[in-house]
Amino acid sequence: MMNMNNIWFIMKRELSGYFATPVAYVFIISFLLLTGFSTFFVGNFFERGEADLYPFFSIHPWLYVLLIPAISMRLWSEERKSGSIELLMTLPVSVFEAVLGKFLAAWAFTGLALLLNFPLWITVNYLGTPDNGVIFAGFLGSFLMAGGFLAIGACVSATTKNQVIAFVLSLIVSLIFVLSGYGIVLDFFSSWAPVALVDAISSFSFLTHFDAISKGVIDMRDMLYFASVILVWLFANAIVVNARKAD
């Protein structure tokens, strides 16, 4: 039995923490600059001459690998370092309520940063007649994928008191989850491993599932994949918090 109020209060406190410091603004501005830059210069938005946001979405997995750990690194390591975790864990809240509240705060914040890309959507609608259903699916997929990265980062952040270590470890784990679907890596495996194994590795990847959604194919299995990634990592997060809170 979970107390929804507690989850909400913890989420609210965490969110206000982002905006109490420059963290939120620095993150949002860098995110927007990087998405803009990569869409126009790396993804050749104009040269492609297509009315869609594919160049925009296709860069998201790589941006998230780099940027999401910057949000998630402080979630638990800061609580442990400052000792406030002792305060939080002796308030009448359960560990999972705290885990969920913090995760939802980080996810809502990322969602906000993602939504602030709306000028791109306006641009593409001004220039042509895109399939807005596909674009919506892209935003949805990107948001779900961000949740997956955040859940990984939140769990990793609970393992250490040091934010830099949390950042680097989250980045590496996230990278593994992306790279397992990347062409070069899969080619390396497919040269010697059985097809079933290659498929298993690639089905583990954020890339594989995100690609399908961002092309407008909203398949329940892809949604379920991200939902289960989030839940599994959050459960792991609760276990780690319980085990390491007093260290």
Binding site: R13, G17, A20, S84, E86, T90, P92, A246
Partner: protein
Amino acid sequence: MSLRIEIDNLAKHFGEIKAVDGVSFSVRKGEVLGFLGPNGAGKSTTMKMVTGFLTPTRGTVRVCGHDVLQDPIAVKASLGYLPEGAPAYADMTPDGFLKFIADIRGLSGKEKQMAVDSAAERAQIKHVMYQPIETLSKGYKRRVGLSQAILHNPPVLILDEPTDGLDPNQKHEVRMLINDMAHDKAIIISTHILEEVHALCHRNVLIANGQLKFDGTPHELEAMSRYHNAVCVSVVDVDDDSLVAFLTALDYVKEIESLPGARGFRVYPQNGQQITAELSQAIRNNNWQVDSLYAEHGRLDEVFRTITMGGAK
């Protein structure tokens, strides 16, 4: 029963280290229990188990009748806790911080505002309510932690070194605050400041090396001192040898030693009995004029050392 905190055979082992090893005591309503012991004796570990932060290796804790393992949320709801070092969310203001605590404690609307106001007032942090906690001095941070603990007027308070790092004025204020709240709460205070034993506590528990060494009133603790009821006496115009001869002859005197750096002697009674009146009468019967004569209550620092060092053997 008015027992608010019941601790039974509580133990916490970290690998080979027995941080707490079979501690039992209880605290009733209206009682301030001073939890004494040297650093590393297991005070904080015990408090962390009482508040549900640490899981005991064995033993039970009940707070207001709730078992901390079976119903941790009920235990946490009925107590206020100031952890060691008074941690808080550094980038919040006391106002935002206390409102968050009030939310979690289930207070809302007018009730919430009143609880925040009253806690801030009692901890005397009203004038720093809108400054980030990280910019506050150590004394204020401690008081923010204290206001957080008392916010919901809990029946049980657990305060881990509430006066550590405060100046004498601030210490006094915090002690007054605790005294004011004592009548309808059960309070545990850990400290290694021995003057607080008298200033605050109705009862003391002393632990060393994770084990309970003493459980009794401050007076009983003092009575364990070898100075308990010893009398310091000096007499005008009598040479030391005749005074010593006279004192040694008294049948209720056990031992005499000269006072270092001063005139006179310290007289230890047989069996720790009170001898001030008899001694004073005996000296006057000799027609000697008393220069000074006073009884000692006992020295807590000496008792503390004897008990805690004795346990290390």
